[in-house]
Structures are given as C-alpha cells and as structure tokens.
C-alpha cells in the first residue's frame, strides 16, 4: 500500500512542477522534495527521469483520449450510417480536454499546460511516446471528418484536423496569460467559457470551402 501512495504522490508532484517549470526546468530532486519522498525512490519506482515524465503524460492524456473516442462512438450511433455533424465532432474532440468533470480546476489546468508543453517538445523519445498515444484518435477523427466533409481531399482533411488540434492546444497553453495579454479584457480561463468560444471557431474553420487546387498539376 505504501508503494501505491508513493508512486501517486510522485506523479502528482511531478506534473505540478512540470507545469510550473517545464521539462528541462524540473528536476527529480525537486519532485522528490515536493512529494515528500526520498530522492532515490523515484528511480526505484520509475527507473529514470524520462520514464517518470512519460508516466505523468500517460496518466492524464489516456483518459482524455478514451473520452474522445467514447463521445465519437456515441455520435456515430446517433447518426446510424450518415456523416456526422461537424460541430459534434469538434465537441467530441475539444470537450474532454477542457471539461473532464472529475478533475478539479487545478488538475484541469495541469492537463492543459502539459499538453501545451509536450507538443512543442524537441524531438526525442518523450515526443515520440507522446505522439504515439494519439494515433488512434487521429485515425478515428480524420475518418469521421472525411465523411462529414466530402468535398475535401484527404490531405486537406488531415491538415484541418491538425489545425483543430493546434487551436485547442495552443489556447490551453496560453489560457493562463490571457488576462495579462488582454489587459483584463479576457479573464475567463474556465473550461466552460473557453469551450463556448472555441467550438464555433473550429467548426466554422473545418467547414470552410476547400482551398483552391494548385495549378501545377493539370493531369486530371
């Protein structure tokens, strides 16, 4: 029993420090100190710093992606076999990242910052492992988007999917700075408000007319 508690305390402390100081700025010494555990126990339980970081990501990102797939399943059952509504797909993707109801505010913020940090991580094992966790979500959502937007080429569907990812992730990462940047005009960083603004923006972008075809290839 002591083991489980220690591991979770380490994970909790690690993710908080990661949010505050970033990847390179977080040391396992600091994590051990914040968690109230011994320095050596971190390597005992996780093997290395990199493996610990990865465990932190998995603990938070896994449930979000599961929820996304679950919402997409629901949507597909409602629509029997027709194309899905774009706004619904958008919501299924955005909502779990913003609004996991089981998380309190500070935990949600943690998740937001983790996503922002990690996705602009330099290349390496950490980044690879992170991207791998999203492969099923990428596949399922791009298929759904492709059916909902039949006028787009597969390439443009994929690009637009990643525009959605980018809009979401970067907004999460910048949320904490919004009040300062906007000089007080925008102070709402709570998940509900952000979702209210985000979904219409993304859905409209997804539904935009297809980009013009390049002229260089006139062989069709």
């Amino acid at each position: 029993m002591a083991t489980k508690e220690t591991k979770e305390r380490i994970l909790d402390a690690a993710e908080q420090l990661l949010v505050e100081h970033g990847f390179g700025g977080t040391s396992i010494r600091g994590i051990a100190s914040a968690a109230g555990v011994n320095l050596a126990s971190i390597n005992y339980h996780f093997g290395s710093k990199e493996a610990l970081i990865q465990a932190v990501f998995e603990r938070r990102v896994g449930p979000v992606n599961e929820e996304r797939l679950r919402l997409l399943d629901q949507l597909e059952q409602s629509a029997s076999d027709g194309p899905l509504p774009v706004a619904g797909i958008t919501e299924a993707f955005v909502h779990p990242a913003l609004g996991l109801r089981r998380l309190d505010d500070s935990q949600r913020r943690v998740l937001q910052c983790l996503l922002g940090h990690t996705i602009s991580l330099p290349s390496g094992k950490a980044r690879d492992a992170f991207l791998e966790q999203f492969s099923e979500v990428v596949q399922r959502f791009t298929i759904a988007l492709g059916r909902a937007l039949p006028d787009l080429t597969p390439q443009e569907v994929l690009w637009r999917f990643f525009f959605m990812v980018g809009t979401l992730v970067q907004t999460l990462a910048m949320a904490e700075d919004m009040p300062r940047i906007s000089r007080g005009l925008c102070g709402e960083t709570d998940a509900e408000a952000m979702e209210r603004w985000l979904v219409p923006f993304i859905a409209a972008g997804l539904k935009a007319p297809a980009a013009e075809v390049r002229l260089e290839a006139d062989d069709a």
Copy 2:
C-alpha cells in the same frame, strides 16, 4: 569587427541548438562549442544565458512582427476607412511567419520552432519578454478584427485573435511531424502549401457567427 562576427556566430549557433534541443536542453557550453568561440565570450557579450536566449528571439521575431504591421498598414490604406477583409487580415498575420522570402528553408524552420517552443514556455522572464514583443501586433490586429467583425463582443474578438495565433503557432511547431503522423499522406511542410491550407481555415473561423450569449446575465 571581430566583435560583430562573434556575436552573430553565437546567435546562429544558439538558435540552431534551441531548435534541436529546446530551452532546457541547450547549454551555453554547447553553444560556444558549436559557434567555435570561447565559453567566456558568451557571458561577455550577452551577460547571461537568459539574455542570450532573449536576443535570439528578438532577432527573428522582430522582423516578422514588423512585416505583419506593414501588411496591415497596406490593407488599411487600400480600404480607406471601411472595415478590412477578414481573409486579408488573416494573411497579413500568417504570411510573415511562414514566408519571409529572405529566409532560406532552414532559417524558416528555425523561426517556426522558436515560436512553438517559446509560446509554451513556463512563466518567467523569458516568457514575459517574449509576450511583450507582441503587444503592438495584438493591439493593431484586434482593432482591425473588431471593425471587420462588428457583431462580436470585444471579448470574443480577442479570443478569436488568439485562436488564430494558436492555429498558426501550433501548426508551425508540428509541421515537422506531419509526415510521420499522417503516415506519409501529408508531407508538405513548405511555407506555400501550409499557407494555402491555413488561411481558409482561420478566416472561416474568424467569420463564424457569434457564440450564444450566456443566460446568467439578463440585465441588458
């Protein structure tokens, strides 16, 4: 003369290493070695590691923001005093980041990664200094957007501006991973192709109908 060359060599080496290894993963020792200069000369010329990093950002971000403002000026002159076209505003913001024609491919990539890294930096002096560099761009573009989208509240205009920022920045940061994530479907990371996909998406999002008003405040 030797001074100028040394400073530039340091900046060149620093930005390349920052792109490859991120902020925390880059040491001034490594920078000095890559630049072929003495370790002590970095502190002599820049004072500290943090000041050096800041100089790296300023050298690249400054011209991009100047170009943005210049394009916005052009647009305003064309439209005399009417509202600006949304697609034009979008292009004025997106184009300089993607397509500074004077930069070769590797330099452009540097800029992309720098933006991605920095914007998800943890709080601190580096982040503050970075955000400060954008204050004029934020102000000018939100005003232009507000006039082009008179149905939106100032809050929603500002949120949408930052959605645009997020879409752009995150796309730049992820561009290098697109071929792998898409399993070869999307391999175009060149600036021209990205702009062709990006602008319609963002412009459509910006022009989306206003979000529903919250119900809690019915005092108007």
